[in-house]
């Protein structure tokens, strides 16, 4: 297939003349022989591709980077295979344009006899590129978005809400770090019940260790509700519980599937405007990421970083509160450290450290990192049994 062919289908100005012009200046998507293509891509086109593990991770990554593409669609047919190929080629064309120096093109176009048409082509290319980034916003527009859309959701846990001056902010990724039984899951469940009940928002809960307990959520909901007639209470409870959606997720690939599906749903939900998803929980993200790290390769880290960007993108664009948990492991000198370390550190907006004194019902929480708060601030809270 000739270079830029796929872009030509959409933009007639990028005709064969323009393509030749690009080709002579090194902007070139080389031919991609079909035999070669299916050899490389067939493993991931089978339903079992998620089991292939790290070796194919870079190929999978390519899919996640291409926002046009939905992974789950891959699994079925040849037709979709072809669709993917077209998309892939198109992305490839666009990548080619991004990686090359267009200034050189402009300079050469000046000297060509047919330069008017070539210049139009370059303008077209630049406008394609211009559509590929997020819009520029000035401070006032950003502030307006923050004030209109990025509210603070209380978690229902008084200590944390006071510490964070109201609760968790939409558009931000908040992380709870703590040893086992330091209250991470309890805070997640409490936040789930509070958001579903008080803020009447939808909750998506990705559970990686079968630790989601509906009974516990019901307890939390009952705990701070006014005593009313049983019948009405039951109906409210049902309504609240309906807002909570729990997925069992045991590997990072499934998490990507669920998150991509969520993204699609959120986009269509925006138009319909029914019960808005407000809170996304991954408990715990560290247990999904740690198995793919190590071994000296960078694919594991790449998947981790992609997961971080996907979560932040969902948070920003759909005004979600994203809450993830990170367990601790024994570090050097017996001091425990977060399982996701240095490279993960720069991903979340807010990091909170939880700890729990054995035998007491008091939990401690302290701010590790916060965009607008001094780190080191601490608070205590109790969780009702």
């Amino acid at each position: 297939m000739a270079p830029l062919k796929y872009l030509e289908q959409e933009y007639p100005i990028l005709d064969s003349n323009f393509q030749n012009f690009c080709a002579t200046h090194g902007i070139f998507s080389g031919p991609f022989p079909p035999s070669n293509f299916s050899r490389i891509y067939s493993p991931i086109l089978t339903p079992s591709f998620t089991f292939l593990g790290v070796r194919f991770a870079p190929i999978l990554l390519l899919f996640w980077r291409c926002s046009l593409f939905d992974c789950s669609e891959l699994k079925d047919t040849r037709r979709k295979h072809m669709k993917f190929r077209a998309l892939h080629k198109k992305t490839e064309d666009q990548e080619d344009l991004l990686l090359h120096d267009l200034h050189v093109l402009v300079a050469f176009a000046e000297q060509q006899s047919t330069s008017e048409r070539l210049k139009q082509g370059i303008t077209q290319v630049l406008s394609i590129i211009d559509g590929q980034h997020q819009p520029w916003l000035n401070g006032m527009e950003l502030l307006e978005d923050a004030q209109l859309n990025k509210h603070v959701l209380s978690t229902g846990c008084e200590g944390i809400d006071l510490l964070l001056e109201g609760g968790l902010r939409m558009g931000q990724l908040t992380e709870l770090v703590g040893a086992s039984s330091s209250g991470k899951t309890q805070v997640c469940l409490l936040a789930t019940s509070n958001v579903a009940k008080k803020h009447m928002g939808g909750v998506v809960y990705l559970d990686t260790g079968n630790s989601f307990s509906p009974q516990r959520v019901i307890d939390f909901i009952r705990q701070n509700s006014d005593p009313a007639i049983d019948q009405a209470k039951h109906r409210i409870l049902q309504k609240v519980m309906n807002r909570i959606l729990c997925h069992s997720v045991f590997d990072i690939f499934t998490m990507f599937d669920v998150l991509h599906q969520l993204e699609v749903n959120l986009r269509s939900q925006m138009q319909k405007g029914d019960c808005q998803v407000r809170l996304l929980i991954v408990d715990s993200i560290s247990s999904l990421v740690t198995p793919i790290l190590g071994g000296g390769g960078s694919q594991g880290h790449a998947l981790m970083a992609s997961a971080g960007f996907l979560l932040k993108k969902l948070a920003h664009e759909h005004n979600l509160v994203v809450l993830v948990t990170n367990h601790t492991v024994g570090g050097e000198g017996g001091i425990s450290k977060p399982a996701l370390g240095e490279s993960w550190k720069s991903i979340p907006h807010v990091r909170l450290r939880l700890s729990h004194d054995q035998g007491s019902s008091i939990y401690n929480v302290s701010v590790f990192k916060h965009p607008s708060m001094v780190s080191g601030k601490a608070a205590r809270f109790t969780i009702y049994d």
Binding site: Q132, Q134, G139, M140
Partner: protein, 342 residues
């Protein structure tokens, strides 16, 4: 040009008082006098890298610099000491909080400038003495606030390709904004440059379907980024400030912490100067490293809290690595911004 200066003779003959020259030089090449960036004079065309673990107040330093840049020098007779220019902020980490910028700007407008900044401003203000105006006390001004906020231009990128697309079209964008605001862009901020490092590195091993294709990889992405910024700087002279998070953990970070702790407590380089290699591992491709003209290391100190009048604060330090300087500055971050401490 020819209309302005008719002949070389006229150009040579032209007299300029020291006052007008200083005024001209200061507007043409305003200095960025902000702790901890105040140690070395920074000019347009420089590429400054702020490197440090997370959190080490890197973004705070950027925000503080942005606030100083967008504030006017004077407004309704009140001296603010800003640069009166535009700022472009490219957020690759996707963690920027506009409320933080808004808060810091309000503090600056309300005149709660910090102690050490005042001291530095004093030197700066000597230049302003020729104005001889009576200094009014600053009050909060909604119009000034929204003017400054509009001068802050922001974009978020979720991957390298969005970043490249942004850079490729930045020239047109800057031209548009300059027409709109009537002032030029002074600082281009990138927070943080290594954000997509792992993702790009993994795609380096992508199967190559064709050998004659320039494949997206860490190397080609960095090359293109540097090339685009370099070209941009020719058209629009700006100061580039990029942050870089240290991403290699484990043993390296532990060693770093120990070294930094030493550095911090000793306060002189004598103890740690024996191990003068970088206290972090460099991971950016060499094309970027050679592009950087100034490098500042920032970090949180081991003894994190210091008590001030309004509660506990985290203590950070900064050190110039390029050009190497022999002192370590300490600073804290408060509501109103970054403050130097002795």
């Amino acid at each position: 040009m020819e209309e302005v200066v008719a002949s070389p003779r006229e150009w040579i003959d032209r007299n300029e008082s020291a006052k007008t020259m200083l005024a001209r030089v200061l507007t043409a090449r305003p200095l960025l006098l902000l702790p901890p960036l105040h140690r070395v004079p920074l000019r347009v065309g420089n590429v400054v890298e702020l490197v440090g673990t997370s959190p080490s107040a890197k973004t705070h330093i950027l925000i503080q610099a942005a606030v100083s840049c967008v504030l006017p020098k004077e407004w309704n007779g009140v001296h603010y000491g800003g640069l009166d220019r535009l700022v472009m902020f490219i957020d690759l980490d996707c963690r920027f909080d506009i409320l933080r910028l808004s808060k810091m700007l309000k503090h600056r407008i309300n005149g709660e400038s910090n102690g050490s900044l005042k001291k530095i401003d004093q030197e700066h203000m000597d230049f302003d003495l020729w104005n001889n105006d009576t200094k009014k006390s600053p009050t909060y001004d909604e119009e000034l606030y929204s003017l400054c906020m509009r001068r802050f231009l922001f974009i978020r990128c979720y991957d390298s390709f969005q970043f490249l697309a942004t850079l490729k079209t930045l020239n047109y964008r800057i031209r548009k904004e300059q027409e709109l605001h009537g002032i030029s862009v002074h600082i281009l901020m990138i927070d943080s440059i290594g954000a997509f490092h792992w993702i790009d590195r993994a795609s380096t091993f992508m199967p190559l379907g064709a050998t004659n294709r320039k494949t997206p990889s860490l190397q080609t992405v960095s090359e293109t980024v540097v090339q685009e910024i370099r070209k941009l700087l020719l058209l629009h002279p700006m100061l580039v400030i990029a942050t870089k998070a240290t991403i290699f953990g484990d043993r390296y970070s532990m060693e770093t912490k120990r070294n930094l702790g030493k550095l911090d407590t000793s306060n002189s380089r004598s103890m740690s100067s024996t191990s003068l290699q970088l206290p972090y591992r460099e991971y950016m491709p060499s094309v970027w490293q050679t592009f950087v003209t100034h490098r500042v290391l920032v970090g949180a100190s081991d003894d994190p809290f210091i008590r001030t009048n309004d509660g506990d604060c985290s203590l950070y330090f900064s050190e110039w690595l390029l050009p190497p300087q022999s002192f370590v500055d300490k600073f804290i971050v408060k509501e109103a911004g970054v403050f130097m401490v002795p």
